[in-house]
């Protein structure tokens, strides 16, 4: 699978299928800090990402001065 990380603008390739929740743990992404998008649909933690999927992991955290 190809995983596009935004806003980092990086793509990682991983082999095998796995649930979204496990994918996020492998990527070191905390729950609730990124949306996982396949096509124009959001994926839940329990949904399976397949070997030939193209996935976007889009971080939602923004910040500046406190």
């Amino acid at each position: 699978m190809r995983v596009h990380l935004h806003p980092q603008g990086r793509t990682v390739e991983l082999s095998g299928r796995r649930p979204v929740g496990r994918l996020l743990v492998e990527l070191g992404v905390l729950p609730g800090t990124a949306m996982v998008i396949r096509g124009d649909v959001l994926l839940l933690d329990g949904e399976m990402v397949e070997e030939d999927d193209d996935i976007e992991v889009r971080a939602v955290i923004s910040g500046g001065a406190t």
């Binding site: 806003p7 800090t33 933690d45 329990g46 955290i61 923004s62 406190t66």
Partner: protein
């Protein structure tokens, strides 16, 4: 997982609410939360003229979208800060959003406000950080743009912003800041308008999901000046607590607003003084000049020194 409301397949799971939603039900959930926040905190009415501060990011564009959907009379305000390609791309997103929905938008370009007043220029010519300069410049533009023409200024501060700010204020026991940390700030001078944060109980994830589901094309990249910002450290710490105990951020901010904030506000009220008129621009100031004019004077002085003339 099934939608908590209609039992269709869920597209989003909100751990803090122990609920899942399909797309239509989630959009309804989000709107109801904004409506409830506005009503319970008396933020604004449908008759108010609302100026919405928009940056091109998910929160401010989601806010503008939901306010329009709820029937509010809105005008967008974008401040072009001169932060290279990031500012240009943000401005494009805001202008496209307004154009597609036929919404009124005002753009204030800091470069046109005076020489050396873009955020990078101010940070380079003074000892201030870019974030500090940005805050001072934006507050002044918001206040002057809203004065006289609008009843309310709405900003897209979300639950994570408020929780991070609250954590920072508590860690340093910044009593004055805690006294002012509210979802509604009433004007302290006739030239100020009411400032409201209708998204203050909705998390960044929730606003991002709303923006995504509504097809809002927002700027995903981060401001280059936010790298290493303290607020991100606080957000990370809070997100780790949230992962272990969902609902922590919501309880932290909501219970502070409900139960804790009043004690700090009472303390501040005892020491509060009315603002004067700034001797340079006439806007409210707590000294002889307002913080914006103090910053402008710093920039002018630095520029004069560089040009070899006397400091202003």
């Amino acid at each position: 997982m099934k939608c908590t409301r209609c039992r269709a397949k869920a597209e989003v799971h909100l751990r803090a609410h122990n609920a899942g939603f399909c797309r239509p039900c989630y959009i309804g959930f989000f709107r109801r939360h904004v409506e409830r926040a506005i009503a319970s905190e008396h933020m604004c009415t449908l008759d108010d003229r609302v100026l919405v501060a928009v940056s091109g990011g998910k929160d401010s564009l989601a806010l503008w979208d939901v306010l329009v959907e709820l029937g509010y009379r809105t005008t967008g305000l974008y401040v072009a800060q001169g932060i290279g390609g990031y500012s240009s791309r943000s401005q494009e997103k805001v202008e496209a959003f307004a154009r597609q929905r036929d919404l009124p938008l005002r753009v204030v370009d800091l470069a046109a406000e005076g020489p050396g007043l873009t955020v990078p220029d101010v940070a380079a010519s003074t000892r201030r950080s870019a974030c500090s300069a940005c805050g001072t410049l934006k507050r002044h533009v918001f206040d002057t743009a809203a004065a006289g023409e609008f009843d309310v200024l709405a900003t897209g501060h979300n639950l994570d912003d408020e929780a991070a700010r609250l954590l920072g204020n508590v860690l340093r026991w910044q009593v004055d800041h805690l006294a002012r940390q509210r979802p509604v700030l009433q004007p302290t001078h006739p030239k100020f308008v009411r400032k409201v944060k209708p998204l203050y109980l909705l998390s960044e994830y929730e606003t991002a999901v709303y923006a995504f589901m509504r097809g809002i094309d927002y700027v995903v990249e981060e401001c280059p000046n936010s790298v290493g910002a303290t607020q991100l450290v606080y957000k990370d710490a809070l997100n780790r607590l949230e992962a272990a105990s969902p609902g922590t951020k919501l309880a932290f901010v909501r219970e502070f607003t409900r139960s804790g904030q009043a004690a700090f506000a009472a303390h501040a009220a005892e020491e509060a003084s009315a603002p004067n008129a700034c001797s340079r621009c006439g806007m409210p100031a707590w000294g002889e000049v307002c913080s914006f004019c103090r910053l402008v004077a710093e920039v002018e002085s630095k520029r004069a020194r560089r040009a070899g003339g006397p400091a202003v």
